[in-house]
């Protein structure tokens, strides 16, 4: 499925974030000395460990657990006030190394990768026409056959594989496709109205809302109704695969992007 990407490639957020970390570490080393440098160096993996621990609790995806443990061992190894003896440090380092290999496996298998870009790419694949006509209204994407239990099970699958973040409401479930999944996992954001989301109500109706910021991530202004219909069809297809116990195919499809 090698096709040219339809999304813009710029991802300045990560570049700025990385630069910010480098600047903080450099400044702490230059202005405050070695001890503060190591404290700051350990504070970042500590935050990452907490984030992955909460993510593990929310998703039940053990990939987060491996990353969390790796960051915990990094903190134990480098935190200045924890002056372990040489033998303990060697054991900690060995554990960290094993966990680092585990982290590489987890990351390379895309087990905890957010699927934001893949989903937007897949939604745009069948759309060839480009006629701008954005509207913030929801697009009724048709109907699907499912029970309430099935759709709730589907949402659990989606969060476990960090494909979409679910909200189970009184009469429907909402699957949000955020660029940054952590803001939802860490309860930093409660409203999904400004993100792209797909809803499945308990009567079988499916609707799609694409956020303007996500629409603007495409290189072209794809015909908006076709893009919404395609995204709706993609999620209906995912649901059908889930119902047929072919969930692996969903992951394969996303990994193929």
């Amino acid at each position: 499925m090698e096709k040219p990407g339809k999304l813009k490639t710029s991802n300045w957020g990560i570049v700025f974030f990385t630069l910010l970390i480098v600047v903080i570490l450099t400044c702490s080393a230059i202005f405050f000395g070695k001890t503060v440098f190591y404290t700051v160096l350990c504070f970042m993996p500590l935050l990452a460990a907490i984030t992955h621990f909460i993510s593990f609790l929310r998703t039940k995806n053990w990939g987060h657990l491996i990353l969390m443990l790796f960051y915990v061992f990094i903190v134990l190894l480098f935190f200045p006030t924890l002056a372990f003896n040489q033998q303990t440090r060697i054991i900690l380092a060995a554990c960290a190394l094993i966990l680092f290999i585990g982290e590489i496996i987890v990351l390379s298998s895309k087990r905890i990768n957010w699927r934001y870009r893949e989903i937007l790419e897949l939604a745009a694949y069948p759309v060839e026409e480009s006629t701008d006509g954005f509207t913030p209204r929801a697009f009724p994407a048709g109907e699907a056959q499912y029970t309430k239990e099935e759709i709730i099970g589907f949402t659990k699958f989606m969060i476990k594989h960090v494909i979409a973040y679910p909200f189970v409401e009184e009469n429907r479930v909402v699957l949000v496709v955020p660029e940054n999944m952590f803001v939802y996992m860490l309860f930093l954001k409660h409203s999904y109205k400004k993100d792209t989301y797909i809803t499945f109500d308990f009567k079988g109706n499916v609707s799609v809302t694409i956020a303007k910021k996500d629409y603007q991530k495409y290189k072209e202004e794809f015909t908006f109704d076709q893009l919404c219909a395609s995204l709706g069809n993609l999620f209906i297809e995912f649901l059908e695969l889930y119902q047929k116990d072919k969930s692996r195919e969903i992951i394969d499809k996303l990994n193929a992007i």
Partner: protein, 198 residues
Amino acid sequence: MDFKTASQLGSIISKDYAEDFFKLLVIYQDISASEAASRLNLHISTAQDFLEGLNSQDIVSKKEVLEKKRPYFRYSLKKKTLTITIDFVALYNKQDHQDRLKWKIREKKNSGAIFKKFRKSDYISAVHFFTGKGRTRIEKKINLTRNQGNFLLYLPFPTEPFLSVAEIIKKAKIEDSNIPEVLDIIDALLNHKIIEKR
């Protein structure tokens, strides 16, 4: 009785002095504007306008008489009761209704309207839009009924083919009795160039 006539009658009988004026018209066989004005302590032109208003609505009759070769009018009451009946249902043109169901519509491209969704639902609860330019630019908001919001959910996107109003109503599963309110919002949105018609 058509609404315009009813509102004119309403306007006449809502005057502060109307009750006293009608009492005079009952008491006197006929009366002139100057006699009524002096009796009710009104300006003669006020009394004249009031009587002319009643005459135009066929409540009083007027007769020209001469006094020392100077003509003037005397008014006498023609009706002993006044009934205002308005058929509110008749205000809505059903023929027009049928025509409008055939209109093909969709959302207008770059209309600038903001569609607010009802909490935990996809149907639209309000439409915000702007009128005027520069300093005179004003934000306006139309709150929608549930049926109107549901209709707008199924309104074709700016990039979709036009759909007839009847087809959208069918998709949105709106009952016949609620169609007039949907047609009303279509009119409003057409006026504000938020939807377009083919």
